[in-house]
């Protein structure tokens, strides 16, 4: 998608999410995360560092909020006056929700952040001028800005040999974020194209879903109705686009964070469960 295309067809791209968005989607890459299975172990986060060439920023920069953890685990305790947190902690894996109506996209002055035909919020690194508007506008706080160049500090030789050659190392002044492992999507789509078929559910997955020791994260294409993730969304009666779910059984535990903001997140969480009968 070129800049001139965007300018010429602006009204087309301003179509609301409820009208189907501005795309005839090829895929809708989607996740379902079971918070009752998630143990908060951080394996997904470190796997993401490994797969996506994320810089290690060190203690001082971490303190300034400049850590590059595309996938982070937030930990919460219940709000209670109790002396002890006797129902344990809550863990929340948080990464870019690949919103269908992303608030980061329209504010980019140079269209560096845009919507792909796969429903991803993509970031064109070499178009990004570092205005950081997208990051300001993201309610999930999952966009990470390169305040510095980290080539030497994060990958002193020979650590640089570990870098994944499928993707770049981002330089100073560039915004970056979770891509749903777009390099893996690319490979799978190319393979499928060569074999003249659609991508098969489960033939690849994101680094976080692949590593997850409890299989709490499920990734796939909801346009493939037989995919595991599509079935989970259907079972939980979670619909896209809406700002409030209309479920026949209101007790079903699938939900999307901040869907009331009309951002149409592509990640469905399933509520944490606690045994209160003991």
């Amino acid at each position: 998608m070129s800049l001139s295309n965007i300018l010429n067809n602006w009204s087309h791209y301003r179509r609301g999410a409820e009208e189907g968005g501005h795309h005839d989607y090829e895929h809708r890459w989607t996740m379902a995360i079971n918070l009752d299975k998630c143990i908060g172990c951080n394996a997904c986060s470190v796997a993401c560092y490994s797969e996506n060439n994320l810089a290690v920023v060190g203690k001082a920069k971490f303190d300034k909020g400049q850590a590059m953890h595309w996938m982070r685990i937030e930990r919460y305790f219940d709000e209670s006056e109790k002396e002890f947190p006797d129902s344990g902690a809550s863990f929340l894996p948080m990464m870019c929700q690949q919103c269908g109506a992303a608030t980061c996209e329209p504010v980019c002055p140079v269209a560096a952040t845009y919507h792909t035909p796969d429903g991803l919020n993509a970031q064109v690194y070499n178009r990004c001028i570092g205005s950081r508007y997208c990051s300001n506008n993201c309610p999930f706080r999952v966009r990470y800005f390169n305040f510095y160049s980290y080539y030497e500090s994060s990958w002193p030789e020979p650590l640089n040999l570990q870098l994944n050659p499928d993707i770049t190392v981002r330089d100073k002044g560039v915004m970056e974020k979770c891509t749903f492992c777009v390099q893996r999507i690319r490979v799978a789509k190319d393979k499928a194209k060569m074999a003249d078929r659609r991508v098969i559910d489960g033939e690849f997955t994101t680094a976080c879903a692949q590593v997850c020791p409890t299989s709490a994260i499920v990734f796939g294409d909801t346009m493939d109705k037989d995919s595991q993730v599509a079935k989970l969304w259907k079972k939980q009666q979670v619909e896209r686009v809406v700002t409030k779910q209309n479920k026949s059984n209101s007790e079903l535990r699938g939900y999307r964070i901040f869907e009331e903001l009309n951002v149409d997140p592509s990640v469905m969480y399933m509520e944490r469960v606690r045994d209160t009968e003991i």
Binding site: Y49, R75, F77, D78, K82, G88, E157, Q162
Partner: protein, 745 residues
């Protein structure tokens, strides 16, 4: 150019002399010039064998980041090892890994690796050649006679067998091989052995309706965390046989596992045995189904443990204990586990035995606790690391038992409490040889340092100590060539030592690779291999492809009558000490583990799961305790035991018992490279060297401390600012009744 001309050299020469043009049809990229003697100019038109530019391939191997023995697939592209994935074929981890496994690539490419042999000269380690190192070693070894020892971490497979063979070859006893790990389950294993006749029984979590865990951090650091996390996924699934399982965690500091509990009960470390006896008492009284195979002597002992009494011992509410008792009666089958905080006392063995008694009374043995598979190759079996060997080694060294000791895969100078006196004892070891990848504390004390290959460059076999469902030998193969030409694999170093002593037996093996190929041929010849394939080569290829060898099941049997007779359970009255009012909990964490991963930047920057702190040490204390001492969050404090003190920041958190000061392991390195050195403190240093009275293991949780406020310090560097969701509903929680209605849990 002398010697045979390699294909690549041949092509290079052609390029230089201009006959490259004869390679008709090959498009030479115009940017690539072939110059003689410039190794880094490689044309893509003729790549290395097996290398297709741009295409990654996966090789099966075994993760050595902890001792669980998970199978991995290493992604290799253009000859570089790039990423770790779990091996779906492995019954240990079923395609998954933990964060430590992921960070394996950073162990391999670590900028602080040892790249050449070093020898101590004039108090300093000086780089030497292998020839110099070998001749010095040879001389020391021949003078030492049989006064030679090996000090390793948990070890198994053919490397372990070679150590045994080597000690045998020099007439040293097998007791001269010490295996030491701070994170272990040694007391639990000893109790299992005595009561069930099987030291590492299978734990069928997926079959349990309720898990009651006394400080066993099975999702984080206990026994085989990735395996148990996989089982946890099934345990928490509504579709599982017993429905969604419930976890009750009883401990003095909230571990990662505790953070996932349905009911988390704070209790003083050391009181778990009493709680278990109180629960046995409660279950026998209130459940008609409870087994009653308890001796009258024990019956008398147990009947004195009322819920009221044990709640008082544990420093917790009686209501919690009653709720646990009722849950145990209602939910069957259950599984009761005991972890480090139970084992780490002078009565650790008795307390674990009391917990096993609870399993027996509840009828869990045979249901959720089942006999394990015996490995048909006892010489390959895991020698689990423990702390008793650390103490025994220190004593042996003090009495000058060894002239030469090899250290590998363990860092005792870092993990030994100061009060043990290991550092002085090491002065009595004539010649210390560190076979090491990193310049850790032990390596820097050595007289000779032999550079060890990384786990991604080495061959090996490993028999995981905990196995369930299937019986395997895990195989480790190099994922790439040596990064540094001077490093050597552990097997190769051992083989060289053995060649010297027994040239007839080992002289014919060119290297460890050749030895291992032959050894696996021998395994195939035994009747214990499940699918031995048609020929040796086919079997070898299959082994490398799958990364493991399937061994025939050979179930152990539990002792015919599960005996509680030979177990005397004596729990002492709690000692209080007004000078040192708090218990010190030195907790291992998934990530830096016992400190061995403090040099991996990914794991330093990966927040602790509960406190969310990065790149630091901290002392967790309850708000009530903090109030009493007069410190607030982030204040600098001094934590002092009888044996020393450390200064660090206070972290105020409700998930810790008010009598406990919890300090995570991992930091406080004085050596160990740029990422670890000088960061935080090491709580192991101030432990009092008491031992469990039955097993001789170090009583890690028995140290008492006092806390002094030192005034204000800066804030913590951590992920997130709020401990609660402040009214927002990012993580929503439902009671299990709702799940039962919707998903039939």
């Amino acid at each position: 150019m002398n010697g045979p001309v390699k294909r690549r050299d041949f092509l290079k020469m052609m390029g230089v002399s201009g006959v490259g043009g004869t390679l008709a049809g090959c498009d030479l990229p115009s940017t690539v010039t072939l110059e003689e003697g410039k190794e880094d100019v490689v044309s893509y038109f003729m790549p290395e064998e097996y290398v297709i530019p741009g295409v990654g391939v996966w090789f099966a191997s075994t993760c050595l980041q902890c001792d669980a023995g998970c199978g991995i697939h290493g992604r290799v592209r253009e000859g570089r090892f790039l990423k770790v994935e779990g091996n779906p074929d492995s019954p240990i981890n079923k395609g998954k890994t933990c964060q430590m496994g992921q960070a394996g690539v950073q162990s391999h490419y670590n900028p602080d690796r040892i790249t050449q042999p070093m020898m101590r000269e004039g108090g300093k380690l000086i780089a030497v050649s292998w020839e110099q190192a070998n001749s010095a070693l040879k001389q020391k070894l021949s003078n030492a006679g049989k006064k030679i020892g090996w000090f390793t971490g948990t070890i198994s497979g053919h490397q372990s067998a070679l150590i045994t063979n080597y000690l045998d070859a020099v007439d040293a006893s097998t007791e001269s091989h010490f295996t030491h790990d701070v994170v272990n389950a040694a007391v639990w294993q000893a109790v299992n052995k005595d009561m069930l006749g099987d030291s590492m029984p299978e734990l069928h979590m997926d079959k349990a309706a309720l898990i009651l865990s006394f400080g066993a951090d099975f999702l984080g650091t206990w026994v085989s965390p990735v395996h148990f996390a996989g089982k946890w996924g099934e345990f928490r699934s509504a579709e599982a046989g017993a429905g969604r399982g419930t976890l009750i965690q009883v401990e003095s500091k909230m571990t990662l596992t505790g953070g996932n509990a349905d009911l988390w009960v704070p209790a003083k470390s050391g009181s778990e045995g009493a709680i278990a006896l109180g629960l046995v008492n409660y279950v026998i009284k209130n459940s008609p189904n409870a087994g009653n195979n308890i001796s009258s002597e024990q019956q008398n002992l147990i009947s004195s443990y009322s819920l009221e009494k044990v709640a008082q011992i544990a420093g917790t509410s009686q209501d919690y204990i009653k709720r646990i008792g009722d849950a145990l009666i209602k939910r069957s089958p259950s599984l009761v586990l005991a972890g480090a905080s139970v084992e780490g006392h002078e009565h650790g063995y008795d307390a674990v035995a009391a917990i096993m008694l609870l399993n027996i009374v509840l009828g869990n043995v045979g249901k959720t606790i089942q006999p394990s598979n015996a490995t048909p190759f006892p010489q390959l079996q895991a020698k689990p690391g423990n702390t008793r060997d650390l103490i025994e080694f220190t004593n042996a060294a003090k009495s000058k038992k060894f002239d030469v000791v090899f250290f590998s895969g363990s860092n005792p100078v870092f993990t030994a409490p100061d009060s043990l006196g290991l550092k002085d004892a090491l002065g009595n070891v004539g010649f210390k040889v560190a076979v090491s990848t990193f310049p850790d504390e032990t390596t820097m004390q050595a007289d000779l340092v032999l550079p060890l290959s990384s786990y991604a460059e080495d061959w090996g076999t490993h028999v995981p100590a905990y196995q369930e469902d299937r019986n395997i030998v895990a195989v480790q193969q190099p994922l790439m060539n040596n990064l540094y030409s001077d490093t050597k694999g552990l097997g190769d170093i051992l083989l060289d030592l053995l060649k010297d002593k027994k040239p007839d037996e080992y002289g014919s093996y060119k290297d460890y690779y050749a030895y291992l190929q032959d050894a696996i041929k021998t395994l195939r010849g035994s009747s214990s291999i499940k699918e031995p394939e048609a020929g040796d080569l086919q079997f070898w290829n299959k082994t490398l492809k799958t990364g493991l060898i399937d061994v025939a099941d050979q179930k152990n049997t539990f002792a015919s009558t599960i005996s509680t007779e030979n177990v005397t359970i004596k729990l002492p009255e709690e000692k209080t000490d007004s000078a040192y009012p708090y218990q010190l909990a030195p907790v291992a964490r998934l990530g830096l583990y016992d400190g061995r991963h403090a040099n991996l930047p990914w794991l330093q920057e990966s927040p602790d799961q509960i406190s969310k702190v990065v790149w630091d040490s901290w002392a967790e204390m309850h708000p009530n305790t903090a109030k009493k001492i007069g410190v607030s969050h982030g204040d600098l404090i001094e934590v002092a035991s009888e044996n020393g003190s450390i200064k660090l920041k206070a972290y105020i958190i409700k998930g810790v018992h008010p009598d406990t000061i919890a300090i995570p392991l991992g930091q406080g390195h004085e050596e160990f490279g740029r990422y670890a050195k000088g960061l935080g403190v090491n709580p192991l240093k101030i432990l009092t060297a008491r031992t469990d009275s039955k097993t001789g293991e170090l009583a890690m949780y028995a140290t008492r401390v006092k806390v002094t406020a030192l005034g204000k310090e800066d804030v913590f560097v951590r992920l997130g600012g709020n401990d609660t969701q402040v009214g927002r509903k990012f993580v929503r929680t439902i009671p299990v009744e709702v799940l039962k209605r919707t998903e039939g849990a």
